[in-house]
Amino acid sequence: MAGVQANRLANGGLIDRSDPLNFRFDGKSFAGFQGDTLASALIANGVKLVGRSFKYHRPRGILSAGSEEPNALVELRSGARREPNTKATTAELYEGLEAASQNRWPSLRHDLMAVNQLFAPIFVAGFYYKTFMWPAKFWEAIYEPTIRRAAGLGRAAGIPDPDHYDKAWAHCDVLIAGSGPAGLAAALAAGRSGARVILCEEDFALGGRLLSDGGTIDSMPAAEWLSRALAELAALPDVRIMTRTTLFGVYDGGTYGAIERVNDHLPSPPEHQVRQRLWRIVAKRCVVAAGAIERPIVFAGNDTPGVMMASAMRTYVARYAATPAKRVALFTNNEDGWRTVETALGAGLQIAAVVDARPDVSAAHRSLASKGGFPVLNGSVAAVDGGRDGVRKISVSLTGGARAEVEADGLAVSGGWNPAVALTSYHRGRPKWQDDIAAFVPDGAPPGMVAVGAANGVFGLGACLSQGFAAGAQAARDAGRSGKAGLTPVAEDEAFSLNPLWHVAGKGKAFVDQQHDVTASDIELAQREGFESVEHLKRYTTLGMATDQGKTSNVAGLAIMAAVSGKSIPETGTTIYRPPYVPVAIGAFAGHHRDENFHATRLTPSHHWAAEQGAIFVDTGLWKRAQWYPRAGEKDWLDSVTREVKAVRGGVGFCDVSTLGKIDVHGPDAGAFLDRVYINTFSNLAVGKARYGLMLREDGMVYDDGTTSRLAEDHYFLTTTTAKAGPVMQHLEFCRQVLFPEFDVQLTSVSDQWAQFSIAGPKTRDLLREIVDPGEDLSNEGFPFMGAREVALRGGIKARLFRISFSGEMAFEISVPARYGDALVRNLMQAGAPFGVTPYGTEALGVMRIEKGHVAGPELSGTTTAADLGLGKMMSTKKDFVGRIMAGREALVAPNRQVVVGIKPTDKASRLRSGAHIIPKGEIPGPGNDQGYVTSVCFSPTLDQWIGLGLVERGRERIGEIVHAHDPLRGEGYDVELCNPVFYDPEGGRQRG
């Protein structure tokens, strides 16, 4: 069992003493309670030193009690779940928690890298730019790796995250950020009015500062009011309270981003549950009650463990019953800081002294001091003396010039409060300066959003309640809800008085941004060197660029810049606010879209059958297509592909081509419409016929190709390439709806509705006769080349049959409703067995199309014209079509364009590779004589050599010429002959037979 919790109060707090928890920090065992954070449990166990700083490896403790924490960052969990830079102040304690401190070696207490402090003079602002200028090659080899090792935060796990993350949408009338008094009052008013409310609270407990500061609301103790309010909200049917959820971003149209830490408070998520959930919340109105962040005062040694924000100290004592110190000093410039004294006295702690920077202190406080027996010193803390064991001595500059020393083991600091203006500023809003509280407050907000309470610069409890309540009621009305909001909760406002104080000059390092080790002198240096603009200051010094995004440091930094540059703080201004408000794991943004679920997978109708055959699949876009079907004894893919090609050319084979885009074009103007989108004419296509069509983009370049058939007078069936199925549909809808709305035509995407197979080879008809109803005439006369019509299959299923050929063989494509695809492929195999039917994949398909000189993706590259592809004659001169005028531009019809041509090595044994550049034979390759390149290659089993297609300058005029293929990428070069791209059956007799 772990040791006693020496700094735990016997009574009080919101921890559950009946539920003790064991945990380990840096290998040492400790105990805490349910309801603790890691930070509060460490404090209860007397642990002050929790980390080493980023640059100087200075010992650091716990500064805050919330998500603004710059120092107390740990590696939480171990193995694949190890998460660096986790704030101990927000990490909930659970049984068996393991955490380790960061950025120290060999141990936290004895960190050898603390030697960096001796080199502090060179680690000033901009030191990267100044110190490591030369020699240049040293940067990558020595400087950067060394700096990366020495400076930095935690280590990532380095192995895949075993947890799941979810993404979800939510919709509501009123979204509320924060469950402090203002947020709860807003929720009560909106909820009672009948609005659908979502309230997001970052903490695991609801109540905000009420949990630490108490008070009296509606004449009852705050805790009682809180439990009544929560009970009422729980009973309202349309109020959803989300704890452990941070609203981190504001997007257009009333959309908000929130991260819910669903199971971060457990060692690992329960089975089938996610670790975190990313919410996109669409809200008609948003009430920001995100509170304020207490700001430090910058003085020498202000990063010593034991120096803590005054409000955080109250939180640890009152909410967690954990005492950060035994003898506490307070340094404040405002009235609110004194509440820490009251809390500490109430818990039986000693007060060493109160250092108050204001000229006067109220009579009530003076009498508290005399009763408590501690001095009130008018002045400022000039320095803190202490080390890794924490604060020992505090030296004070008294007003008037004298000095005093105070012995204490803890120092609470209050420099006033900064409203959390991030959410209201995410649409490039700039907060405005408010003199009476010496802080930036929201100046307007994105549409539909309003800030209330401390987030709006209103600090009194009564004012927070009434402002929150009014905003909640108004938001509900704006969202169209007219129920009665009822009575506003009532409380008194606390006294307020503040003398702005940002920086106390003194000897020793005074930290502004503790996470990035930016000191007051760094800011002064930046100003001297001309980096005066806040955006320059930020980037030059890295102020506010750490994981806490400067929540405790930004305003102090620009106040110091204002002072040294002789400007006011509002003149100095703020940097642009950008989401996320807290770090959000990339895993949460990815959600379930990782690994095999990174994108959707589309399977062809024959996929399961092909998998049974042992097919090798290739990803083509979202599709998985059979690439080839290996058989026993084949030594590589080329063996399989060669066999498949020979089987088709010599007998019969089939290939699943269902991935082609398929579009039904219906309507009396279908033909006229197609005439506008294709370069050739379709209105004169006879019913029962198919035709190859080519589309251009409006700029005259080829867009897509495919075969389109006329199945009825007012019904065409159009196919696209696999890659362009979606884009062509979008393009055709644009043509129909925007460019040519006068046509009576409708388009329907039917890509997924039809299973389509190409059946090719001289024995195709023999096979088809086994499949198709005997009454259908499949003879060359009854079903000629480019015929297309519906047929009945044996058994009665209707199919569409198209006599089209990509392979150059006698071939048909057959379409059946997709749900029959699997049955059809099995039937084809069975019925085709006597003919040696051979399934073939996309590789064999590609080989046969290259042998036949058909263009495909590599040639339809978006930079080729119809004429480049040898299809210029298809362009009709009798009608308008998309791309017609631009296709006639001078450069697009220039005689020296690179056009499609066949290519074969002069040495029959030589391999050909795509990407090789074509240059004249005997010349030294260079950009000046580059005449084109090889686009597609294959080994042709039919010609028994490698062949290819290419785009070559004036290629068609140079058939027979020997040129050189230069491949610097692979260090190869070989002579090739330019030839007719149709290597196989150039007369086309086979496909017509």
Binding site: D252, V282, Q730, E733, F734, Q737, P741, F743, I885
Partner: protein, 91 residues
């Protein structure tokens, strides 16, 4: 961003695809190369209110003409393209 599709109602940005400036009109068949060149290549890039083409590909596949402020993303009008929906223009 949220877009109110005239056929489907208010939907999330992810359902839509942006095309661009909706002002240029495709020239008549006999307009000549210069007019088509302008239509294809010349686009305004306004910092302010613009008329744009958007495609509701994740919904009803309508092309929409959307008036949007490019500085604030505020959408002030959404109209279906002339040929969107089932009926032909003038029918």
């Amino acid at each position: 961003m949220r877009i109110v599709c005239p056929f489907c109602g208010e939907r999330e940005l992810g359902e839509f695809t942006y095309l661009g400036d909706a002002k240029p009109q495709r020239p008549a068949a006999d307009a000549g190369e210069d007019a088509v060149y302008d239509y294809v290549y010349l686009r305004d890039n306004i910092a302010g209110v613009m008329s744009e083409h958007w495609y509701h590909g994740g919904g009803c596949r309508s092309w929409l003409k959307i008036t949007r402020n490019t500085l604030t993303h505020e959408i002030s009008a959404v109209e279906p393209a002339a040929g969107a929906g089932a009926a032909k223009v003038g029918a």
